[in-house]
């Protein structure tokens, strides 16, 4: 059975890096895995070390494929394959009318987008599909889209399709949700609020919370450097100790399942993804 992992998190916490790393970790253990970007494809492409991503999956390395969901492509597939809209004469007008629908009706754009990784799951050709999902602030509107649509359309293909997508997303045997956070006040508070919101409105619980950029412990007692003559080494130690203490507070609050270590210095995006993959095996379904 194909499993789906949705990766989300506050912007700038390393969501795309973690999505890429999960794909890499899964491929390393011999899975056939697809990583798909749902909104902004740039970050995922960079972390996978490819210049760009297409709507159709392309091979990144043995076992690992990647794709990006773009609106025109997704809308086209949604209409032709999923809703089986017949090829009609005034296609131009019809497409514009449907574009209008996607622009305006609540839930339609979201269903078209989040539907894509779900179809990939339905195909049963992958072991794992990893979706680099929309950031935390928009995640709920995507996950709630099937419900939103059901409230809007009384019957017909759109409604049935939405319900089927909703069932896959809500099935814990199929779908897991990974939230990425960094141990700062802003990120932790927002992540916990979003997780609460998802549980309240959709009864959906994150399968794993991943803490990213966690500083390694510095084996220096603050008292040991007190009174020493000031120098860059001491400044760096003080900064580290204070940041570590600050992080510890927010890590406790977050209660993450996995902690990924801070990577010091310059790393290319693919290097970052490789390194993070080492720590993510336990998050894989």
């Amino acid at each position: 059975m194909t499993r789906l992992v949705l990766v989300s998190g506050k912007g700038g916490t390393g969501k795309s890096a973690v999505a890429a790393a999960l794909g890499i970790a899964s491929a390393r253990r011999g899975d056939r895995v697809l990583v798909s970007s749902l909104l902004e494809a740039v970050g995922l492409a960079q972390h996978l070390g490819v210049p760009a991503l297409d709507y159709e999956p392309t091979t990144v390395r043995p076992g690992l494929w990647a794709s990006a969901v773009d609106r025109p492509g997704a809308l086209d597939e949604y209409l032709k394959v999923q809703l089986r809209v017949p090829k009609l004469a005034p296609t131009g007008h019809l497409l514009r009318a449907l574009d209008l629908l996607v622009e305006t009706a609540p839930g339609v754009r979201e269903i078209v987008t989040i539907g894509k990784p779900v179809y990939e799951v339905w195909k049963e050709t992958w072991d794992l599909v990893v979706a680099d999902a929309p950031p935390l602030g928009q995640l709920e509107s995507y996950l709630r889209a099937p419900e939103t649509l059901a409230g809007l359309v009384p019957e017909g293909a759109v409604r049935e399709q939405a319900a089927a997508i909703g069932r896959t997303l809500a099935d814990p045997q199929r779908t897991s949700l990974v939230l990425v956070a960094v141990p700062t006040e802003l990120a932790v508070v927002e992540t916990l609020e979003a997780a609460e919101g998802l549980e309240r409105t959709l009864r959906l619980r994150p399968t794993a919370l991943v803490a990213n950029r966690v500083l390694p412990h510095l084996e220096v007692e603050p008292e040991a450097i007190e009174g020493l003559r000031n120098s860059p080494a001491l400044e760096a130690a003080r900064l580290h100790l204070e940041l570590e203490a600050e992080q510890r507070e927010w890590l406790t609050r977050l209660d993450a399942d996995v902690a990924l270590e801070y990577l010091f210095g310059l790393h290319t995006p693919p290097e970052v993804a490789e390194r993070l993959a080492d720590g993510l095996e336990e998050v894989l379904p």
Binding site: K10, G11, G12, V42, G43, L83, V85, L88, P90, H93, L94, R96, A97, L98, D99, L100, L101, E103, T104, A105, P106, G107, R109, G137, S141, L152, V153, P154, E155, G156, A157, V158, R159, T184, E185, L186, V189, L218, E219, V220, A224, I225, L228, R229, S231, P232, A233, E235, A236, A237, R238, L239, H240, E242, L243, E246, F264, G265, L266, P269
Partner: protein, 358 residues
């Protein structure tokens, strides 16, 4: 004349704190200064006393000259509609099931409301300095693009297709060619969705003229403002910062300075290659040296990021040092700017002029 500083950039880079610090420094210099903020961290909100207050500027207790206002972004679309639509149309729009969707879908409305609030406060002439902390939508870009986009949404190409080339002043029947297509699409979709949407958009369209005029005024204010793009050396906010240079020329707005926040001292880089002196304990010495090397690598990364921005866009770059503890009180705010470089001219720059470097 009011000096406007727009502090923008990706979420999480410290814009809000920096905005408050700039306003506090201006107030301390004897100006009547307002910080217009969106979503401050709780401690800072409490410190500023804006936690429960609405859009109206309020003096910050114990800090003469400093005023703060928090923008209520949830009410923003309603405000826009009430302001620009005729009462009966507004009532119809606000209960329409598509309205919520548009409001959620188009977070630029928050930004439009924020930009309009800024314009209103600048036009009031009540402040010498207004520091605006931009809403997070679109990585801050929406604040600049929203006036135009809001107009485009309301008079957009889809509406033009529905109604023909003309902008109707009132509800009109949509174009004869559009209707059968909408019907056909609705049959496929299983509900009268598109016809309803068309009706809704036609209502929305009536606001077009008012919105467009206001959008132009707001854009004029933005062109006169000093624009600070805040970032850290991390790839995501940096990528967002680049977008201001790629996309703002569209509305003839140009960032004045890129502010790097959480900057590490350049002195660490060289020091990491020198032996550590004055630390007798070999274990402690080794630990400190190892730690300095890690952080020196970070400092080097920061330096490269600053240089790449300066070279790429020929823009002045400012640096604000990394404080391990973000300021939690208004009194702590000026300390943030004490070690900063490249920010001296921001209060007298603006509108394309280059702030002086220290």
């Amino acid at each position: 004349m009011t000096r406007v500083l727009v502090v923008t950039g990706a979420g999480g880079v410290g814009k809000t704190t920096l905005s408050a610090a700039l306003a506090k420094v201006a107030a301390d210099a004897g100006c009547r200064a307002l910080v217009l903020t969106v979503d401050p961290a709780r401690r800072l909100a409490d410190a500023l006393g804006v936690g429960e207050l609405g859009n109206e500027p309020t003096p910050v207790e114990g800090h003469p000259g400093l005023w703060a206002a928090m923008l209520d972004v949830t009410a923003s679309w309603e405000a826009v509609i009430h302001h620009y639509a005729e009462p009966e149309v507004a009532d119809r729009l606000l209960v329409n099931p598509f309205f919520r969707a548009i409001a959620d879908r188009f977070p630029a409305a928050q930004s439009f409301a924020a930009a309009e609030e800024m314009a209103r406060l600048v036009e009031s002439g009540a402040f010498e300095v207004v520091v605006v902390d931009t809403p997070p939508s679109g990585g801050g870009l929406d604040f600049f693009l929203a006036p135009r986009r809001t107009g485009e949404l309301v008079g957009g190409r889809l509406l033009r297709w529905l109604t023909g080339a003309h902008l109707p002043a009132r509800r009109t029947l949509y174009r004869i060619t559009a209707r059968p297509v909408l019907r056909l699409a609705d049959t496929v979709l299983g509900g009268p969705l598109l016809e309803e949407i068309a009706e809704f958009l036609l209502d929305l369209r009536t606001m077009y003229d008012g919105l467009r005029t206001r959008a132009r005024t707001i854009e004029r204010h933005l062109r006169r403002a000093t624009i600070l793009v805040v970032t850290t050396a991390d790839p995501t906010p940096l990528r967002e910062a680049f977008r201001f240079f790629e996309e703002l020329p569209e509305v003839d707005v140009h960032p004045d300075v890129v502010v790097f926040n959480r900057v590490l001292p350049g002195t660490w880089i060289e020091a990491a290659d020198r032996p550590l002196r004055g630390i007798p304990d070999p274990e402690l010495r080794a630990a400190l040296r190892h730690n300095l090397r890690r952080w020196a690598a970070e400092a080097r990364r920061h330096e490269l990021a600053r240089r790449s921005v300066a070279e790429r866009y020929g823009v002045p770059v400012a640096a604000v040092p990394w404080l391990p503890h973000p300021p939690a009180t208004v009194d702590d705010l000026p300390a943030l700017l004490e070690g900063a470089t490249g920010l001296d001219g921001v209060f007298d720059g603006g509108g394309g002029t280059v702030p002086s470097r220290p």
